[in-house]
C-alpha cells in the first residue's frame, strides 16, 4: 500500500481521523460547552454501580452494560468523560472495519462521516449513552459485514440495555435471520437478555423481575406538569436542523443506489427508516418518556455513513453512480427543507442540500472525483456549521446556567454557603470551573425523578434504599429527596438557586414555603432566593 492509498484508505488515514476526533472532543470538553444532564446521568449510574454493584447492575434503568464498563472510572468526572470519548473513537474504528469488510473503495469515508458528525462529537463529550449505543451498532455492522453474524447478533442483543430504542434493529435483524433461516443468529440475539435475566432473578428473587421492573416507565408519572410544557411533536424546522446535525451529508442518501448496497447496508437503511419513523411519532403519544431531543436519532448515523461512503467511494473509481430517482428525491427533500427553514434561525438544511446538489451536478458533468470531494468537504464542515440543530450545547439547553452562577456568586460572596438547586448542571459546572468553592450544593430531586427511580427499583430486596444510599454522596450535588425538603430541614440563610420548572411546586409547594423565601436575584428562567425567618404579611 503506497502512502497516498494509506492516507485515504488505510490505517494512516484512520489515525489522522481519530486524532481529529480527539482534538475536537478535547476542545469541547475543555471549554465545558457540552455539559448535559443526561451525560451526568450516565456518570451517576456508573458511580452507583461502583458503590453498589448488584443494586446498580440489576436496575435496568441504569443501562447496565455501560454502567459496569464505566464504573471503575467513575471516581473522576474528567476521567469518565475521556473514557466515554474513547468509546466513541472505538465506534469510528469499528465502522472503518465495517467499510473495509464491505469492500468500500474509500473505507475512510464512512468513519469520517461518523467522526465529524456534530451530534456524535457532542454526545461523546457529554457522556450521552446514545453514542455508546452508536459504538455498539458500529461493532454490530463490522461483525455483520465480516460474516460473523452470530457474534453480531450477540452484541446487538446487548444494545437495548444501553438504549432501549435500538431494539428496533434487533427486531429487523431477527426478521432478516428468519428469512435466511439463520437459526444460530436468532438464538444468539437474546443471549445477553437471558443471561442478565437469569442472573437478576437471583438478586431480585423474582423470575419475571425484568418485566416487573422495566428499563423505562411504560407511561409518564400521572399528572406530571412537565409534559404539559413539552409538546410531543417536533417542528419541521427542528427535524431538518437535527438531520444535518447528525451529519450534513444526510441528504446525500438521495444519491445512493439501492442496488449497489450489500445486505448489511440495506438492513441498516431499513433500520433508519423504521427507527426515524418511530422516534418522530412516539413522542406525540409520550410513550417510554421519549421527548424530541435530536440525540435519540444518533443510531442512524453509522448506517447513513456506510451508505453514503459506499456511494461516494464508488463514484471515484466510476464503479457506481447516483440512482435514477436521485434528482426527484433531492428535489423533494429540498422542498421539505425550504418549508422547514421558514421557522428556523438559519436554513442549514437547505444549504446542505445545495452542496449535495452541487455534488450530483459534478457527477453528472463527468467529474465524479469532484462530486466525492464536495461531499467530503460538506462532511468536514459539520462540526463548525451544522452543530446548532443538535441542541446539545449547554448554552442552548440551559441558557440561564451562566447567569445563574454569576448571580449566585454575587449573592453568596466568599462566605461558606449551602445552596439548594433543582438545576442538575450547577454542581458539576461549579466543580469543573473551580468557581464558588465555598458553596455546598444540594440537589433537589424532582418528584418525577423519585417516582421513576422507585417505580423501576425493587423495594422487596432493598434495591430502592441501596440506590438512594449509593447516590447520597453525589447525584448532581448532594441529593435531597422530595420528602426531606421541608422548611424545618433547611437552615435560615440557605440559598435556593432555582431553574424555572413546572415540576418544582410538587416538591416545594408554594403554600408550605410562603413567607419563608425571599427573592434576592430575580429572573425569568431562574431565580435566586434566600431562606428567611417567617415573614408575617
Amino acid at each position: 500500500m503506497d502512502a497516498r492509498t494509506s492516507l485515504t484508505r488505510g490505517p494512516l488515514g484512520l489515525a489522522l481521523l481519530l486524532a481529529g476526533f480527539f482534538v475536537l472532543a478535547g476542545v469541547g470538553l475543555q471549554d465545558g460547552r457540552y455539559l448535559h444532564d443526561e451525560g451526568l446521568l450516565t456518570h451517576l449510574f456508573a458511580l452507583v454501580t461502583a458503590r453498589d454493584p448488584a443494586a446498580g447492575f440489576f436496575l435496568q434503568k441504569s443501562r447496565p452494560p455501560i454502567s459496569a464498563l464505566y464504573a471503575p472510572l467513575s471516581g473522576s468526572l474528567d476521567l469518565f468523560f475521556w473514557a466515554h470519548i474513547t468509546v466513541g473513537a472505538l465506534g469510528i474504528v469499528a465502522l472503518w472495519g465495517a467499510a473495509r469488510a464491505l469492500g468500500h473503495r474509500v473505507p475512510l469515508l464512512a468513519p469520517g462521516v461518523l467522526a465529524l458528525s456534530p451530534l456524535f462529537i457532542g454526545g461523546s463529550v457529554a457522556g450521552l449513552s446514545n453514542t455508546d449505543a452508536v459504538t455498539g451498532l458500529c461493532i454490530v455492522a463490522w461483525l455483520h459485514a465480516s460474516d460473523r453474524r452470530v457474534a453480531a447478533a450477540a452484541v446487538l442483543g446487548v444494545l437495548p440495555w444501553i438504549r432501549a430504542e435500538v431494539a428496533v434493529l434487533a427486531v429487523l435483524f431477527a426478521i432478516s435471520a428468519l428469512r435466511h433461516s439463520s437459526w444460530k443468529e436468532l438464538a444468539a440475539l437474546p443471549g445477553f437478555g437471558l443471561l442478565y435475566g437469569l442472573a437478576g432473578a437471583g438478586y431480585h428473587h423474582d423470575p419475571l423481575w425484568f418485566l416487573h421492573f422495566p428499563p423505562a416507565l411504560p407511561e409518564p408519572m400521572p399528572n406530571n406538569p412537565y409534559w404539559a410544557d413539552h409538546g410531543g411533536a417536533a417542528s419541521l424546522a427542528a427535524l431538518v436542523g437535527a438531520a444535518v446535525a447528525l451529519t450534513p451529508v444526510l441528504p446525500a442518501l438521495a444519491l445512493v443506489r439501492w442496488k449497489s448496497l450489500r445486505r448489511t447496508e440495506r438492513l441498516g437503511l431499513w433500520f433508519c427508516l423504521v427507527f426515524v419513523g418511530a422516534l418522530v411519532v412516539l413522542p406525540v403519544w409520550q410513550v417510554f418518556n421519549f421527548d424530541t431531543s435530536p440525540r435519540y436519532l444518533l443510531p442512524v448515523v453509522p448506517f447513513v455513513a456506510l451508505a453514503v461512503g459506499r456511494a461516494a467511494g464508488g463514484w471515484i473509481d466510476e464503479l457506481d453512480e447516483p440512482g435514477r430517482v436521485a434528482l426527484p428525491l433531492l428535489f423533494f427533500v429540498a422542498v421539505v427543507a425550504y418549508i422547514g427553514a421558514a421557522s428556523a434561525s438559519h436554513p442549514t438544511g437547505l444549504i446542505a442540500i445545495t452542496v449535495v446538489a452541487v455534488a450530483l451536478t459534478a457527477h453528472r458533468a463527468a467529474a465524479p472525483g469532484l462530486a466525492a470531494t464536495t461531499l467530503a468537504i460538506l462532511t468536514l464542515s459539520g462540526p463548525w456549521f451544522f452543530a446548532d440543530g443538535g441542541q446539545l450545547g449547554t448554552r442552548a439547553t440551559v441558557p440561564h446556567l451562566a447567569p445563574m452562577i454569576d448571580r449566585l456568586g454575587e449573592v453568596v460572596g466568599d462566605a461558606p454557603k449551602v445552596v439548594y438547586t433543582n438545576e442538575p448542571l450547577l454542581a458539576s459546572s461549579l466543580m469543573r470551573s473551580g468557581r464558588l468553592p465555598n458553596v455546598t450544593v444540594f440537589y433537589i430531586v424532582q418528584e418525577d425523578q423519585r417516582f421513576e427511580l422507585e417505580r423501576l427499583a425493587n423495594p422487596a430486596v432493598g434495591q430502592r434504599e441501596a440506590l438512594w444510599e449509593a447516590m447520597t454522596p453525589n447525584a448532581y450535588g448532594r441529593p435531597v429527596r422530595p420528602d426531606a425538603l421541608r422548611p424545618d430541614t433547611v437552615a435560615v440563610g440557605a440559598i435556593f438557586a432555582l431553574t424555572k420548572d413546572s415540576r418544582l411546586p410538587l416538591v416545594m409547594p408554594p403554600a408550605r414555603w410562603e413567607g419563608l423565601l425571599q427573592v434576592v436575584a430575580p429572573g425569568y428562567d431562574m431565580t435566586i432566593e434566600e431562606r428567611i425567618e417567617r415573614r408575617t404579611p
Partner: protein, 150 residues
C-alpha cells in the same frame, strides 16, 4: 451532454435562490409575535405604549396577548430581543421581579436564546413599564386578564 447535468444544476440554482430567500427573509417570528395583538385596553393600561416606541433605548416590537392572563411586550436592540410580561396576579406561579397593586412583571424569552440581557436594560425597562401600569391599573380593566377569564 447538457441534458445529463442541467436538471441537477437547475436544482442547485433553485436551492441557492431558496437559501438566499430564507436568509433575506425577516427573522423568524417567535411564538409571541404570532399571538393576537393586544386590545386597546391593554395599550391604555400601558399608558398608550406604541409599537416602535423606545424604552430605555430599546424598541418596542410588539404588544400581544393576553394569553393565559399575560400580556407580552417584545423589545429589541440591535440583534437582541427579549420580552416583558405583565401578568395578572396569580397567573404565573413564580416570584415576580417587580409587582404593582394587581399585576406581576417578569422578563425573559431572550433571542438569540443564549443571550444574557444586560441587567441595566431589564431594570430600566421594567421600571418604566411598572410606572405606566401603576398609573392606569385602577382605572383600566383589560379583557382576558381577570381571574375568571377563559
Amino acid at each position: 451532454m447538457i441534458w445529463r447535468w442541467a436538471p441537477s444544476a437547475l436544482l442547485c440554482l433553485l436551492c441557492i435562490v431558496g437559501v438566499a430567500h430564507r436568509l433575506g427573509a425577516s427573522a423568524p417570528q417567535d411564538r409571541a409575535s404570532r399571538q393576537q395583538p393586544a386590545p386597546p385596553e391593554a395599550m391604555a393600561l400601558l399608558d398608550g405604549l406604541q409599537v416602535g416606541e423606545k424604552l430605555a433605548g430599546w424598541t418596542v416590537l410588539g404588544i400581544t396577548g393576553p394569553t393565559d392572563r399575560v400580556l407580552r411586550i417584545d423589545v429589541a436592540h440591535d440583534e437582541i430581543r427579549f420580552s416583558i410580561s405583565v401578568a395578572a396576579r396569580g397567573a404565573v406561579e413564580y416570584p415576580a421581579p417587580r409587582t404593582t397593586e394587581t399585576y406581576d412583571l417578569y422578563y425573559g424569552h431572550p433571542h438569540p436564546r443564549d443571550t444574557e440581557i444586560p441587567e441595566s436594560a431589564t431594570r430600566a425597562i421594567m421600571a418604566g413599564i411598572e410606572r405606566r401600569v401603576r398609573r392606569n391599573e385602577a382605572s383600566v380593566e383589560v379583557p382576558g386578564m381577570s381571574a375568571d377569564a377563559p
